[in-house]
Symmetry: D2
Subunit: 456 residues, 4 copies
């Protein structure tokens, strides 16, 4: 008769066991589970629920089991369903019946909630570190290619000239927000659920604050029913991760575009490119494409946990077991993608000439022309209309703006004077000299500021 | 220098390799891949692109490799990235350079499209079989509990009495539609893509019809660009699977409800129930809950592949590699859930007394009272209003309808006569004697009809 | 006291009424609702449940009400909650208490299921028509630009030359599958639910086949509980729509790319382009971008209805009211997007020169070189490797393949002979002369075939 | 020729105009748009870009237009596309060409980003207020029914007795977290984008801090490219809203369950219940069901905006226009649902007898029995096993635990003594006397604490 089944006439059906067992994936939580159990044992001693000697025995046993798992010597048994029971059963093998005292004043419901919170707390720190590394790659390239000008695009049409560094810093900002979101999520994860028991709280004098301190939590949960049914912190983590992946998918899209023969602004390092099984000339930006594609699974994991929780009555229901695999998949995806994108970004080469060529066509200075007129007192809306007509004329003649004669300019507005020819890429950039703008000075400041924010 | 990288200066970065390698999961396609390669080799011979002897050598080698994998003797190498290259490299080891001829007139782009189509074709047959098994479980129970009456609920309020068998047959219908949807999806999967090459078609006289016949396909693809970029059949499969899981989540919800102390209509067999780690009295419907929860991951996999494909330019992009893991997860989830639900449904016991008790309160016959009046010529809307007032009166007195005197009835409508007391559960059921209705005769017919549909 | 509330002590709270009333959006179903009621009235007469005269009165009233709504003279009342009750109340105003007989042998549960099925049946025909129109636009352009060659891209890298028409025909295939999916969905929508009543079937001798014929349905539903709780056809419609939008998002992405200064393959007609509020030179492909963006809302509507249905017990629950707004939004989005994409595709101009320039670089013929060697007996994998090294050499020299001397060729393989210089864009295209391939002959055939499939 | 189209040969196609115009929905932003424009005008004066007189004229005009819209006298024109151009055009009508100066140093790209941020900032405050109101309803009921005991459920099986107030406080905690999440989202929304122009920053000396102060923002955006392409704050808002709806769907599920004949713990007030069109006895919890169903649309809106943003290159693309309708729908759904749930929760009546009856069966004290043994030194796991066997025995005899003789108890463990009969509902509750536990004292404290947190 399997574990915990004294109440039943027969054993669980084999297919039902393999369907419900979680040991295949929740073994990943063994460190958290053992850390939680050790702290729990200390509390049981501290609160005189078990003897000091019993406590020592339990902790020694658990420590040995952790070593066994670290050394891949532990044999997981599906019949024991999950990581909690696998460890408890092994503990019984090692130290005998006293192992059974560990489950005093605790249920799997608060135990698994604890494990998940510990796991997410640690993972979040890792993710934040990786986000910082990718930011560092962006800054490195921003520093290296400070002189590169390329078009900013809106609607994927060349809009206005910007510094390449300014463009990279846009991604820096996104990742900075991502870090803030994870930090905020952490506040709601950093809550210690032990003491909640199965659902109603445990009938023992348990010092929950003691547990929180031992386990490095800032607060204890306020309501036992909520504590065992709450998976908000998983949803919120998945949501933060989805936004990161969305950002990376945008970066990936641009890296793919920039690597085309048509744009040609960058060349991915060979170490991050792959070839074709049939077309020998190809150099493909597979890493960027894969990262873009992996956005799908992370969005899917978010919708997965939201679906699980929809309409679930309180408190613990077995549906909640479905919180884990999607989380692990998101964590692995996010960590691997951030790591490999960090490498890819750090190593690509920028093709200054192709970038410069893309801003050579002076139609990209049209806004500057409109602002030129506006500064001479013509209402901007009118100035915009004048320049649009001018462009229409120039396009019809297949001529660039700088090639038009003053006479031609005057036909569109008498306000044009010779200084219109002074408008260049450089003046355009320099003019955007306000916080957040693309002038070389502002971008330099932003770069310095960004480094400071990382250093902090 | 790794495979296919003669064009590059350096090897792929290690983290990039592990990020992009798919061998961990696409090894699942080895049977399809080898079947496809064997057919391809036969075609190359058939179309005189390679010699008969070369063909034999290749096929012999592939057959041996399949055996190695069957016997778990094959060593997968991550450096070879995917199942296609792992097999090709092994083939080279076994038969030498002639192995390199297998890739003539083929690209990984059409090869992987083929593998996926073969896989889904086979899987769909399995799923349909499992759907049928669950239908059989429903029919078995429908047959066994033909006499059980319980309330049909709307808004989870007791609405009208129905036969339990009628209720089970509702699920039979859902699963029947599910099978139809998979069949329809199959039509669009059953299309042979080989010959499309990387994207433009192959520059060889290839008999694509020959390939289709050898591989059991009904049709060949019409356009090579579409053939290598099309993953509609994956999305459609995921969508069909999501609808199945939605159906099962509804069944699961009802099984959970019916197993409560409050409803108590069924008792799940011990073989499909689990206990609590802390509350010894508990008998939990974990299997049903897990099935309901697993709806989340399947919905997630659907949104995952839809996200991958959103906004992808033609033709093949590496993002498409993300079509696989979500598919495999859905397939495994669906097969396991159908199997275990089949067992759970087949073995639960119905508690006739609890069911009967739930329809004992004759308010559930209120609609019949309204129809009674309607049949006497009172417009139904008016009859409904009369009975509502009657109910309001009876509720105020805490009395059931059959306990009201004729005098009291008459106060609400003079059309009430003594035959109102003839309205019973049995007459209510019997009256719904039309196709699709819950009268015993109709349900018997439906049961017979259902069996016939399965037998077909 | 509001409608249908004789059982209650007080009126519904105002905010609760506005929260639950659906008249703001379900008024869109008035035609379906009235058509259903007229057929229902005919059946009531046909089955002698009401008199012929009553039937005539009801039908006359309903017909007049339809006219009122057509003429925007009908005043909807939120207190009457939904379209069904608004019409029924108005009918009572017009023809008196006999109106109350219309609800005999019918519930809102089967009534709304009918309305939804009628609506989707009609809508699907419209969508299929619009899909065909977009296919026609593709064929028109395919016909007009049969001579245009451009690169097929994989990984957004130039891969192999293809005919532009071949590329457009890839989208033709996608839309053809979309039509097949909608046709299949239609089979499962084309089922008549009346007679199911609230949930158990109605206690009247109702000729359901008569109703099906009058309303143009092929079949009647098999189970009353299923009939009132089934919304599969809505999910399936949403899924089909999501796949269409996914296809259009891919087309949109390409149109955006092709319209860039960098690609420059097409120019969108001014009638489908917009300008910038600040940058006068811009010509933006807004329509394509919006279509791509609107993919989001359609995916969202799919996940919305799947979420609604997850875990719902049978049979009707008010949650089901949430099936409508998402459906209407998807229908409107799909119809508008197909229409405007039809216009945009039909009118864009292809820039032959830019397309030709993109295939001028003969690296794009690398696969042909490998096949050249393969045809001389070198195993393809080896040939691929040889050409990759050749490319590496040529790139290092910044020379195109045709500029290499025979001596240089020979250094990579002795199998190269003078005929290697005969490989051109034209021979590359011509060589792909198999069904689905891009040779001019095959594309011509495909074009003819496509027209036939539309004409059918 | 339509607005801003001087560059084009022809007008936009009618269907394309109606497809791309946003005025139907973005008119909702008129207050934010005008507030933004007034602040912008003040800045233009402050920075001497326009004269004081021009500024006054513009502000006067804008103020008058706001009044026109407030009074529903403003006529929106689709040809003017969006709210920005509708207002600008009207301003021109009112004050002439000087209106054209308002668009100096601003683009629609930063303007719409501003409007969206202002809208979400205000909306978030409203949502937080409504969350608080629902919390107050929970506390009111928690106060009123402090004496009610009912089962806590896990797996929807009766698990352990808890105070009803304790159960309600679980929802209080969820909503408290929701407020925290919205507050955190607010930090990332509270960033002023003006000055970013179309994408590169504006070529004027603009005091962005001045703008931020006038508009009540804490910070200005750091990077102009990011500022016009960032919609993180919309995604994050949608994510916060999805979690709220998930919580409400759980509450709704429980309200539906508790209102069944089978559970019968509460009766919804008539003002929040509806009846059936056919079954006069029904009292349906439609509001709860609708709230549960509306979870679908909010999840859908989240996936919608995530899909829109996936793979979008920088900076502004027209796809971003799709950020609005889903947001407005979520805001309306959330506000209405919170409001109506507040009323429904505040007014339901608890049926003390039904609740008490559900805990009468003393199997619910099984955990207490196990803890009783554990406190006598038997390892908990062993104690659990003993009690499970005891339960199995009692179930077989259809007897409750308190009816077993001491002799019978002793058969299962010699540690049982007469004090086992002292275990009651009351001792069970009282024993859970730790923070977060369900003892009357702890719940009283939690209630006091909760009120304090709201008051704060």
């Amino acid at each position: 008769m399997a574990f915990l089944r004294d109440r039943f006439e027969k054993d669980v059906e084999k297919s039902a066991l393999s369907y419900s067992a979680s040991i295949n994936f929740d073994q990943r939580l063994y460190k958290q589970d053992i850390a939680g159990s050790i702290a729990h044992a200390r509390m049981l001693v501290h609160n005189s629920i078990i003897s000091e000697k019993e406590g020592e025995l339990i902790i020694m046993g658990l420590t040995a089991i952790r070593q066994e798992i670290d050394d891949s010597k532990f044999v997981y048994k599906m019949a024991l369903e999950d990581i909690h029971m696998n460890i408890e059963a092994r503990l019984t093998e090692k130290i005998g019946d006293v192992a059974g005292k560990l489950h005093t004043a605790r249920s799997r419901n608060d135990q698994v909630a604890l494990d998940m919170r510990l796991f997410i707390k640690e993972t979040t720190q890792d993710i934040i570190k990786r986000l910082t590394e990718l930011q560092e790659s962006l800054l490195k390239q921003g520093e290296a290619y400070k002189d590169v000008v390329l078009p900013a695009y809106t609607h994927l049409q060349r809009a206005q000239p910007v510094l390449f560094t300014h463009h990279l810093l846009a991604y820096f900002e996104m990742l900075q927000r991502d870090k803030g979101r994870f930090q905020d999520c952490l506040k709601r994860t950093d809550i210690m659920p032990l003491g909640s028991g199965a659902v109603a709280g445990v009938p023992y004098k348990v010092d929950r604050q003691f547990l929180a301190e031992k386990l490095g939590f800032s607060r204890v949960s306020e309501n036992s029913i909520d504590a065992v049914s709450d998976r908000d912190f998983v949803v919120e983590f998945q949501s933060c991760a989805s936004i990161v992946m969305m950002h990376l998918s945008r970066l990936a899209e641009e890296i793919v575009l920039w690597s085309t023969a048509e744009f040609g602004f960058i060349e991915i390092d060979d170490a991050y490119a792959t070839s074709s099984s049939i077309m020998p000339q190809k150099k493909n930006p597979d890493i960027a494409e894969l990262g873009r594609g992996k956005t799908g699974r992370v969005y899917g994991n978010l919708i997965g946990i939201l679906t699980v929780l929809k309409g679930l009555p309180l408190a613990y229901n077995r549906d909640l077991q479905e919180d884990k695999e999607g989380l692990f998949d998101t964590v692995d995806t996010l960590e691997a993608t951030l790591r490999v994108f960090g490498g890819m970004v750090k190593t690509f080469k920028v093709n200054r000439e192709r970038a410069r060529a893309a801003v050579a066509d002076d139609y990209i200075l049209a806004t500057d022309l409109a602002d030129y007129l506006a500064k001479k007192g013509i209402p901007f809306r009118k100035a915009h209309s004048v320049v649009a007509s001018l462009i229409h004329y120039a396009l019809g003649q297949s001529r660039t703006l700088s090639k038009l004669s003053m006479e031609e300019y005057k036909q569109f507005s008498p306000s044009f004077t010779d200084d219109v020819y002074d408008i260049t890429l450089e003046t355009s950039l320099a003019a955007r000299n306000l916080p957040g703008g693309t002038s070389p000075g502002q971008v330099e400041l932003a770069l310095v500021e960004a480094k400071k924010r990382l250093g902090g």
